[in-house]
Subunit: 432 residues, 4 copies
């Protein structure tokens, strides 16, 4: 292999020790928080170019629920490629596509009593959200969508319009309209009854609220700060949607595929969304794949009315099928996730007590966990300290004030404890 | 490997011989035109599950310029995966990312005198377009975009709003605004001077045209019907943009990476776009990857202002780097593409003469070629006949009236002639 | 005077006893509720063509605060016309315009410590609102506006977008965007603290609320059902706007010019809006005139940037000036309005007690008074009964459930008592 | 009458010799061009406060087709007011409303074979346009509207979005969407066939043009620079609309009521618009009144779906009815208008010849006439010179480059010649 060319010195700068970032847009972000060059990764460990190992409590922002280069999935992927099976196939029929559709039906949908049709809306989560919104509008003939405070659904224009973060919204360069934000669960610390505002606006013909096509919600808001909706709140929302003829879209891109325990994050609440968005960990191997699941009666797009080049990346079908067979034909992973989540929760509760003067808040469900600090500056210092000690962990929340834990679900208890110990040191360095 | 589960008989239906499509949304399209199940593929040949070979003049809608499972790239990909190098890395610094950035700089940008910064906007072409539009609006503080008749830029809301096809636009479910369509080159068969309308509207303070942030254009419109803009038209457009302070975005997603001969489709015209969108064949192996190239002075997004889970799919960096080294360090591929394109053109000219009563029109440049039939029904019959004879070729154009040829650039002359011979039979079956 | 032509019999229909409505659009409304032909009017009495007198508790929906054809203003108007003074003058300087500007400054603005510039935005209230919204957006560079549940601001596109009524919004035929409705005072019957939702959304960078240019509010919502905001709520709103850099627009079109007692409805609250909209009774004689009052530092429209044919109807300047001199140089009218309002309130309280089984609600302030019935059907029957008995009174509220009293401020106590007595009969006929 | 109060000296400034403009918003415009205070006006003459007479070639921007304080209409208006007939009546049935509806039907609609229903959309032209656009969208279920270069339809948000002038559009403060500008007649000086662009976009399913609800057009563009569409162009447009199921709205606010000869400006072309907007001169006396005329099958607004306080200003009904009876029951006025227009045309042709080095262009039809100068600065100097000599005449066009003549239709030949002689002096002062 030809060795890569070294760019001219002028491209380096004092604040760009790694050099090549001079070639990349300033929009890059993680490379600023973690200023090292990574090379290899196995399970819950990532290795820098110089061999330094980092324990990964970030897992590709929830895209690597089964760890990096999962052994079992790796073999399936290599076999697939070695055998020259189709890699790029748009939405042609392939053996890999069939295998995935049938496996997903048998392992996931049918046992949960779901009869949703599977749509491949494009390679990433934003595509799944865009397709969901387009379909909801087409089905209902309405334009408006209800979204929730601190929601995150993606960066393409449709997805961005239902996303809360003002900095990211500002990037649109046009007014983002057609969406109205409503308070997420516990937005007022229990002072205001659930849905009192939304329900009143919907019932009042003079409220000025455009009749919504859909509500889009995350069961647990990851980017929004690990805000976890109660099951009864989700049930209330589903009920309200049904009473008012509004479609319920659950964006399970980050919290699905077992992140909270069950395969879907809404299972615990016992609700059946009209449309479900999946991506991130669905391939099991970090490969770009996204699904929009649609109740059969809503499946009204014309052939090709929504299309795209990377709908249904075939190697991802292969790894996804194997991941479903490996982790979702019994409840081993689900129970393990809940147990590990409880371990973190218990640990975080002790941290909260330890630093009671800082009024920390432990948040989350399953293996989506957060510890809220007073502000984003402190939280950023905690993650920087963790990085120095070999732990990858990021922040989330509107001000980046929540230290967010999304370890691989397959992490060992030992690794989990080791990571929490590093975090303890980081908290101590910042909060003591 | 566990054998896939066979779905219950109730999922089959008379018009669904392959069975598993019952599980997939009705939005699927290619699987309707080509009702067989594909399994493997090498170079320009795709194999159905039963071993039937199909010559591929479609190449993943331009995503497989170097053929299916290209031998050289395959080895790089396998090595990458076998070595457990990072597969999913968001925008963290990785050795693969560095290799790609440096190779792209050395092999592509620098020799062409381009100093664009590279942005990784997400996994697919629509992400590249969304980022380009967002950035152009942020830079200029304007909202409106000029697009062209029969443009195709993608299915997410921002990209769809600058796309021409009315059926696809209808899928949005909301009015698509902020874009004004202008006539593409030769839209009036030479009866109207280039840009007379656009230029007049821009100069007239009373025209009612919102001042545009950007013009977005394809050098050759693939989905629009293989409409090829003349170099002088592109130069005129670039000049007009400069005179009026409008950013020029070239969407080179389908026509870049050598499809028309040079790496970029606009090289022949000698223009320098402000923003360039690349995807499809950039990975070289059909892996989801997209770039938005930005002139340095426009690189004003804040860190993380546009982000996403699958920005910079690392195995795609590996294959992309190797593809650049293999095919773009000399002009062998470029000359071959032009020669093969000339071969098709010459052949198409004879077809046009042969069926002069049908007023066929030969279109295109390089290895993006089209033969326009009187209507979409006839063109659809031609591609169906071709499929029966073992050739994959699709239609494009507003009514699907153009038989569109996008063979791998690496196709052999023999394969090319064989495919054209099949096409001849298909034309004869339909037009004679 | 030539006698009017009688239309051909075919234009009459069974449900159109008055005949000529066949020539008018179906959009007409009051002519359906009051199916008689009116001819003359003096003070608080309107006379039908056949001489039947009707006591007017409607007053041109608040446009006739000084009664019909007010004697004093009538003489000013006749003198103006007889002297051939300018009737139509766009925004040319005229003696009438000067007189009005100076009188308004001396009698209204200066004594209240207001230094607002006067803009003549067009002939009607919607023009005043449109100009206010345009200016607020231009000043702030933001697009979004906060409006309140059950707001009414007009039927042109900008004004309609900040209006609550869903039937009227539906008439737009396009999605009405750029406005977000917030709960008006007491929307949750005291169960939710004032502004808890708005304030939280404004403070939370992840809320998804577009940063608002302005809040537009009515001190008392007339069309919305005579909902009267408490002074402390208005103060809270003004304070919130100041803290967040949001412009406060008070639409005083229906409630200004003394309807609630003071000249401006917000005087009681002691707030100073950034922009104030006036129309309806400002001419004093039912002549089309509207004002947008603007704090000097916001007066940034370019000359002619907002214009229109009927800005500043000169005879209206003459009557308006006289009305200000007559009614607003001392507090006689203000005290009278409050006293008469108290009389209605006391009367309504007795009605509420009388029909306690219907859970009526007495609402309002000054001479803007409402009695809320269980539903619009009952309220409609009450006003129909009143009409039969010679009283003009209309309904308002989202379902038309409020019997709304807007008598001329100059109504005599005797007339007021007579009208209330008729209303009593109407209530008895419907509710007993 | 109480004498007006003199404002405090601080309100005067050096550049505000008239003083009272300090109280008015900077948005005022005519008062800058004509810095004198007007007081009275009769027929074609306006008198300043000091008695200086000005001949009026402006006529309230087309609102005073029958002159200022027309003797006959004045008497009707005085009688109406003296008799205490209703002045303000919303859309209640009144004797004045009936008289107008019946007179308009008999004198205008019926003789022209029009069966349009009359809607009273509000007091001004913008209201007529807003209602027309709302209705067209409601009828068709589409949002988009085709407008023309240099169109002017008003300043409210809906009307502004179909207006061409970029300065005025900028005042909106939000992106104006839903409208696409098309070239008005002769926009390319005959180099491009009529409608070639619009027709092609409509026929091409891939054009990207949103399917339009309506086309809105002025037969002669007044504000746009006295651009006069040929009858065949209007017929071509009407035919195109019919073929494509698009509603044709003619905005006859400035050019209707006889300005071009016939009552409607489109009569000459022999077309029947679906919707017609009238205002300005319809009252005959400069009183605010507007009509939206609607083909019966399009009359689908719900009762009250579009409403407003000043719909149907009753004294205006009285003067309007009398104006119709006086001027439109025979063709005297129409013939006179055409003859006077020919006189101006002939005169302008000689001016064009006289100053051939300036390439002046004579424009217009009937008594809507313009002389186009090389730029707005020169044209502004011409009108300033005219004002100095006692003639009121304004400019129009995107750069104010057209000296625009809209004299009262009732102007005497002598007055017309006197005004043209003043203009000659003004041209000589500027162009010689």
């Amino acid at each position: 292999m030809t060795s890569p060319t070294i760019p001219a010195p002028s491209m380096y700068s004092a604040d760009d020790p790694t050099g090549f970032t001079a070639l990349e847009s300033e929009v890059r972000s993680y490379s600023r928080a973690w200023p090292t060059v990574f090379d290899r990764a196995v399970d819950a460990t990532v290795y820098a170019e110089d061999g330094t190992p980092y324990l990964d409590f970030f897992a590709g922002a929830g895209s690597l629920n089964y760890g990096h280069n999962n052994r079992r999935l790796k073999q399936v992927l290599l076999d697939y490629l070695i055998d020259d099976r189709m890699v790029h196939s748009l939405d042609m029929l392939t053996t890999a596509r069939r295998e995935f559709l049938e496996t997903f039906h048998e392992v996931i949908l049918e046992p949960r009593g779901l009869d949703h049709k599977v749509m491949f809306p494009g390679p990433g989560g934003a595509n799944a959200v865009e397709a969901a919104l387009k379909l909801a509008r087409k089905v209902t003939g309405r334009e408006s969508v209800i979204t929730f405070t601190n929601a995150f659904h993606g960066m393409t224009l449709g997805a961005l319009s239902v996303t809360g973060n003002s900095m990211k919204r500002g990037g649109a360069g046009i007014p983002l309209v057609h969406a109205t934000p409503m308070p997420y669960d516990d937005y007022f610390n229990g002072d205001v009854d659930d849905f009192v505002y939304l329900e009143r606006l919907l019932e009042d013909g003079g409220s000025g609220l455009n009749e919504p096509a859909a509500v889009i919600v995350e069961s647990v808001q990851g980017e929004g700060g690990i805000n976890s909706a109660r099951a009864e709140w989700l049930r209330g929302l589903a009920d309200l949607c049904k009473r008012h003829g509004i479609l319920l879209i659950v964006d399970d891109i980050q919290m699905g595929c077992g992140r909270t325990g069950g395969f879907f994050s809404f299972e615990e609440a016992g609700i059946t969304p009209d449309i479900i968005c999946l991506s991130k960990s669905i391939s099991g191997y970090g490969l770009p794949l996204a699904l929009t699941l649609v109740r059969p009666e809503l499946d009204i797009f014309e052939p090709g009315e929504h299309n795209g080049t990377f709908r249904g990346f075939a190697p991802a079908f292969a790894t996804a099928s194997e991941a479903l067979r490996t982790y979702w034909t019994d409840d081993t992973l689900e129970r393990s996730t809940i147990a590990k989540g409880a371990l973190i929760e218990s640990h975080f509760n002790s941290v909260v007590s330890r630093y009671s003067q800082h009024e920390l808040v432990a948040k989350g469900r399953g293996l989506a966990r957060g510890l809220q600090l007073p502000d984003g500056e402190l939280a950023g210092r905690v993650t920087a300290e963790a990085f120095q000690r070999g732990l990858l962990v990021e922040t989330s929340g509107p001000d980046g004030e929540v230290v967010k834990l999304l370890p691989p679900l397959t992490i060992t208890d030992d690794e989990l404890r080791r990571g929490l110990a590093i975090l303890d040191e980081a908290f101590a360095a910042v909060l003591s």
